[in-house]
Symmetry: D2
Subunit: 338 residues, 4 copies
């Protein structure tokens, strides 16, 4: 950590800062420039973290040298271990995995129809929401455990492992009975109680980036899950909130190469929520693969204009089928495969 | 709802849109302009809400006419009922209430010292976190139930009712045993499971605006609480996330008059988190009162440079005491009182 | 245009709104819903635009039906005409054009070296700044007309047409003497005097999107150029400003498919400024091609650590050469060519 | 400046960084922590600024110690000199100055009517646009020199000095003939050619913050004006762009105390553009005074529903008159006067 002192800092203040650092068991190193005094703080990371040094009089700002995360870090050694969702490996470096399905599970028939379609098109994991986070309390809230059962039936019929969202710590036991992967939605990315709870699950966790979460925030939330003992986290970029009003969100593909560089965790991109308009989902899906995504999550609905959620952004099955062909071409162009 | 069709919409598409609207039990009204066709949709709000009309071919965009919220709305009749926190009324229109205390409860002694200070200075409600939402899993996570006990002791000693944060649906019973008001933190503003749970509590709820939540989002989250039967919600502006890096957050005082106009719920401002730098908290507190806030929440710490959280933004007790005097003057200038 | 009236609008207010619309020479159409009155305004676009209808008592909000731009619009008929920069056509739908060169022209030798490198790698247009917009008045401001001369010499030597930035209306004559294309920088995207001036030039204009410009704003700025008589505008996405601090800007690739759908103008992407970190420029360049860009603008420097501007984001020539090969593969995968 | 090296930095890279720093005439100071190497760079500011140190291999990030601005800085000694607009001093620390008038000068009669109204209400400077920056080329662009003449007549009649916007470097001579203060609009805040030009004027400059400009950006733009020799700059907060759609912009009052602390220049707040909705302008004006603004700029129009620009945000004269009374009360409550 580097402490930059105020222009008018006094010697007494510097002495006090130094004393406080030593009191914390750390080693200060004072460096005097032409017009400012800078103090390096040397010592074990864990001691340095979270000390209220900015509150000491005479301190202008504090610059961390170490990253605030550690378990998720690329620097944490070893090759990136792919995360397995019911046997489908994501993050191997070679294969791009397609995750697809409806936004919400609406009925058994709807789900089976879509599950078969996306499987035939080339998807390898099935998504579908049983507990739905909706901005309005008056919107469809999901089928609950019935939805989970239909997902399990779709898995039995198609062989696709399933991923579904968890919204409440109390729901973990019931969801664990059915799902192959837990999804944490963007709005719960900093629901720390939930992060800790899924950190104790045996299932992998797909963690969606919050609408205004920095990349660092996302990594800190992943760190919560890992620090509870669950190493199987997938990071998902799904659009951030900006001033733009012509799209639902702004899919931030910059996050893909940055996350690949900073962390050893697989990176999933959700172009459906990311741009939020079905006409532009394909282009963003192709771009995500070119940017280096390990997997894509794309919503498909057999009858978008009757969908109970997100109809305006879901692809029809035939559009998805055509898109898979185009995704394969781009994947191969960047040395990957589907 | 108003449907704006695409420039190249066909008559067959218009017929299909009209048929779909009628199928939903609504009444379409087609209006042909010089270059575009617009279709009004008339009928009960509840029928219109959430229909995937944007997914119908030929539709370019959909403009809602009605607000998506209803219970929180100013239009919902009757004068704004003040919300009572342990007998202290907020939102009466006349009195500006000061809520103060430390970020985290760190020890019984720390809390009692601060509680007495802020009470003497003029605060009427005590805040303090026992369960702490922290970006890092390695930061202090709060004292849990011990913290709640210390809060109850501080209430017994000072007479100040207490407000504390809830992070997990499972914690409601224990927090209800001690607290006078439940706080939902910014990062949980769209934790819909938690919103529903506190919507069933007998305690009032202080709902903090999320870092990237629009004003509409905040109102929809309040609507969740009200729709479960709890009418006692206080809305709290506490800073949004923008591109600015010189402050921790950007306190959005624009939200104050807008919320006062759109909703009948009391509006609380938290300048401490809002700007995040103790030197500027006083000016933002004064501005919040001038903008029309019903209450302020301001963090005070007796020893900021040893605080276990947010030391850099807490005011020392003597600064707070002086600030209360200045707040009183501004309150009186705008026809209010402390 | 659709007028949504306030919930408590009176009949007298509606009559006044209607009278005002008729006074403007437009035709009102009143539609009464269950709880609100909506008024359609029918008439020629040019009459409707810019009337202060939101200022009329009883009006809650105003929803435009027509786009505010017209010349740039896809709806403006005819196939997209490629824009020619010194004979190199951009926007033909088939070819992806590479524009490359240094951020600033620093010396004749530097420029010639880089120009030859990028030409050999596959670039077809040379970029280089002679007048530099710099955040600080103490930073290198460019070589001025000397820089333009060096650009012309580089064109003579390599055959690459040149693009350079214009910052001042007074500089148009001198820049027109040398350049093949005028660049309007992000910070001048709403410098309307400059837009009008280049709208009277015979040279094409590459218009960069401002840091906080919506897509609509960008199109309106292009409309300024076209409305002065210059139809040759290229739209350039170069990163927007968000809350993220790990990258210099946030390259918004969502803009690519949206712009391709809404306008007939070619779309250029600048991944260099977009993400602002050389290690991640290649991935963003590939993603831009997959998203549908007509051209890429990529900064190359032969000695980044001695660059007088933007050294940290420029690619070395050998990295650029390798990148061109990868771009070609992705272009072919999406049915394009270099 | 502090250089933080990459985790895997080699000794050879450190030697190279050190050599490069010495080559720049600066003094490196290497500090080895537990896991990272940090290098302090000591020497004159002007030498350090703008060196492409982040481009040197092995460098992870670069942390400036010194502020990038100097002339605008509070640290630049001496008490804040008030800026005089035609004899009206702004920034004296005591008096809050009201600047008012229409958005655009539309006619002589309109301007005189409004000028007399705002003067009688208590405004001390008259504003009015003759050259108007409009998002659309089809909107009213201002009366040009006729508008300037009407402003001069209004000054002659009321005694109020006048402020008007400059958009083009070529217009300085004509505007200097009439105006008492030059306004740089938000969209031109980083029009560096224009900043340099007004830096050579004898008139004071009111510099509006750009929609996505950080506080640091604003100060750097002010530095441009000062570095050309014009010390009379007023900084104006007028709303930034965020994700909120319920207001036109987000007035950022956080900027007020920050600017007062960082710079010696007067701070003006424009609540009219800041929130953009007339019903909420008064509350934001009061809050701006409480936050410490030196002056307010508020748009008034005698007939908003016929205004040629910004009708929806202008106050009627009688509302302004009432607001002045309320502003005076708040000013006095914070120890200021009108």
């Amino acid at each position: 950590m580097i402490i930059i002192t105020q222009p008018a800092v006094t010697d007494a203040q510097i002495d006090h800062i130094v004393a406080r650092i030593e009191e914390f068991g750390l080693r200060p190193q004072v460096m005097r420039g032409e017009t400012r005094v800078v103090i390096g703080v040397i010592g074990p990371d864990d001691l340095i973290r979270g000390k209220p040094i900015a509150a000491i009089p005479g301190v202008e700002s504090v610059v961390p040298v170490m990253k605030p995360y550690k378990l998720v870090s690329q620097e944490n050694g070893s090759l990136p271990p792919p995360v397995s969702i019911g046997g489908v490996k994501i993050g191997s470096g070679q294969r791009v995995v397609l995750i697809s399905g409806p936004c919400s599970v609406e009925s058994k028939q709807q789900l089976l129809s879509i599950a078969n379609s996306v499987k035939n098109a080339g998807a390898r994991v099935l998504r579908g929401g049983a507990f739905k986070p909706r901005t309005s309390p008056y919107s469809f809230q999901g089928l609950g455990e019935d939805g989970l059962r239909f997902l399990a039936e779709a898995r039995a019929e198609t062989g696709l492992p399933i991923i579904t969202e968890i919204m409440d710590t109390r729901d973990l036991p019931v969801i664990e009975k059915y799902a192959d992967c837990l999804q944490i939605g963007a709005r719960n990315m900093q629901n720390f109680a939930l992060l800790k709870e899924v950190g104790r699950s045996r299932l992998p966790v797909l963690l969606k980036r919050g609408l205004s979460a920095t990349i660092n925030d996302l990594l800190m939330s992943a760190e919560y899950v890992l620090s509870e003992g669950n190493p199987n986290v997938l990071l998902c970029e799904r659009g951030i909130r900006t001033f733009e009003t012509m799209t639902r969100n702004t899919l931030d593909l910059n996050a893909v190469p940055i996350l690949k560089a900073k962390t050893r965790l697989p990176v999933v991109v959700d172009p459906t929520h990311g741009i939020g308009l079905r006409d532009y989902v394909p282009q963003m899906a192709l771009a995500a693969v070119a940017a280096g995504a390990d997997a894509l999550m794309i919503e498909v609905h057999n009858e978008p204009e009757r969908a109970r959620s997100d109809g305006e952004q879901a692809l029809r099955p035939e559009i998805f089928t055509d898109l898979v062909r185009r995704i394969r071409a781009v994947a191969e162009a960047v040395g990957r495969e589907l």
